[in-house]
Symmetry: C2
Subunit: 222 residues, 2 copies
DNA sequence: CGAGCGTTTGAACAGCGTCAAAACAAGTGG
DNA sequence: CCACTTGTTTTGACGCTGTTCAAACGCTCG
């Protein structure tokens, strides 16, 4: 990993503090921070490590994961540009985060966030909204995990990605194994399901890291 | 349902406002509110209804649920005394809530909470903590749903209830069907799994609404 | 005592996981 | 440019776990 300069311009006395320049954690809340670059598969932070920073994806993609004691893995979420991750209530991270692709990550000191929230109720509200959105997203995912079958899970996943990108051409920065560990399935089932969708002319798979939605209705019904 | 007087004492001019007396939403945040009683199976609020109130269990137990379009049900959580539920970011409830048993519910107007949070950063933080705890709880549950088998799911469930009550004698205010819809299983599988635990002397089932943990280690290993 | 639920139990079935091998993709070094 | 390696994805055969369907059992309450 490597600390990156934010822009093409060289840093100046006005836009760089010892904590870095002001960066938008949300559209309404900017805090001093800096950027870091991570290479594909590099760890951004580990489970149980001190949660001294909050992160936001500037470019690339990230996964947050945790493990059961016997090694079974769960991927809590995939984070795309604009997503905030690594925000904790306690002292340590409850997930680890790894780069899915080479990526640029905005890094903000948690102490700076804490201070902003102590004096500014609007900032405090922004923080609450961030966490609420996380909660809503994950409640949606819980429904998928508890009550949907393999085809429905993969369909939901593809549709969510397409909605985020606002396009029927979906880039898949994650491996089949990552998708499986996110959906509570096996690699083989994910692969078989996608191939079946392709045979049924519901999607096209020009290569393993790209899917094109050809029949949204069929995916919704799946 | 029926609006209840809070205590044995009659309300007085000092502890009752038009909004009700001050009630502790959390130990550190009290707001004007009132109590309501609900009968077993009575609906407290419905999905898509305006989220004008926040609720806290005073006594009894509550479930929050949602449905897939074809009727498959998911129980997001069971709420026991002290638990806050029905707190939303948006305008409407994203779950419905029903009384599992006869229960007393503390009801606080959301507008009162909003106002408190606008002027008081400490209150705003309390709100964030509430939502964060929800998120943490549900992330834990997600791991159960995505990567654990039937025996492990039921074991986690019993252990969590026992931890909450700080006792090896676990009251089960919910039906087998409720447990099934919470754990992403069927009634039959829940029943079979519990009977098997009983046969293996891991738990005792004096009746259908009570379980006694006899071998915590076996449950943890399950 | 009988009706109506919820729960338990059984038998058959199916969906998904497991294991194994083949196909494919992406580098690496000759 | 090709042979070789390594890791990922696909495909196939098989078996287990959990579902489905059906029936029996046991509460609770008229």
């Amino acid at each position: 990993m490597q600390i990156e300069s934010v822009t093409n311009e060289a840093p100046t006395a006005t836009n760089v503090s010892p904590m870095g320049r002001l960066l938008p954690l949300t559209p309404n809340l900017s805090l001093p921070g800096f950027f870091m670059g991570f290479a594909r598969n590099e760890e951004i932070f580990g489970e149980e490590e001190p949660a001294d920073f909050v992160y936001k994806v500037a470019s690339g993609a990230v996964r947050t994961t945790r493990f059961l004691c016997d090694g079974r893995r769960q991927i809590e979420a995939f984070h795309l540009p604009g997503d905030v991750f690594g925000l904790e209530r306690g002292e340590v991270h409850r997930f680890s985060a790894e780069a899915l692709t080479n990526c640029q990550i905005m890094v903000i000191r948690r102490s700076a966030l804490d201070r902003a929230v102590e004096r500014d109720c609007a900032a405090a509200r922004e923080l609450w909204v961030l966490t609420s959105q996380d909660l809503e997203r994950i409640q949606e995912h819980m429904l998928v995990l508890s009550r949907k079958n393999a085809a429905e899970r993969v369909a939901s996943f593809l549709l969510k990605l397409a909605d985020r990108r606002a396009s029927d051409i979906v880039e898949l920065p994650m491996s089949r194994g990552d998708i499986a560990d996110h959906l509570g399935l096996t690699i083989e089932t994910v692969s078989r399901t996608m191939t079946q969708f392709e045979r049924d002319n519901v999607i096209a798979l020009p290569n393993t890291r790209q899917a094109i939605l050809k029949n949204r209705a069929a995916l919704l019904a799946a």
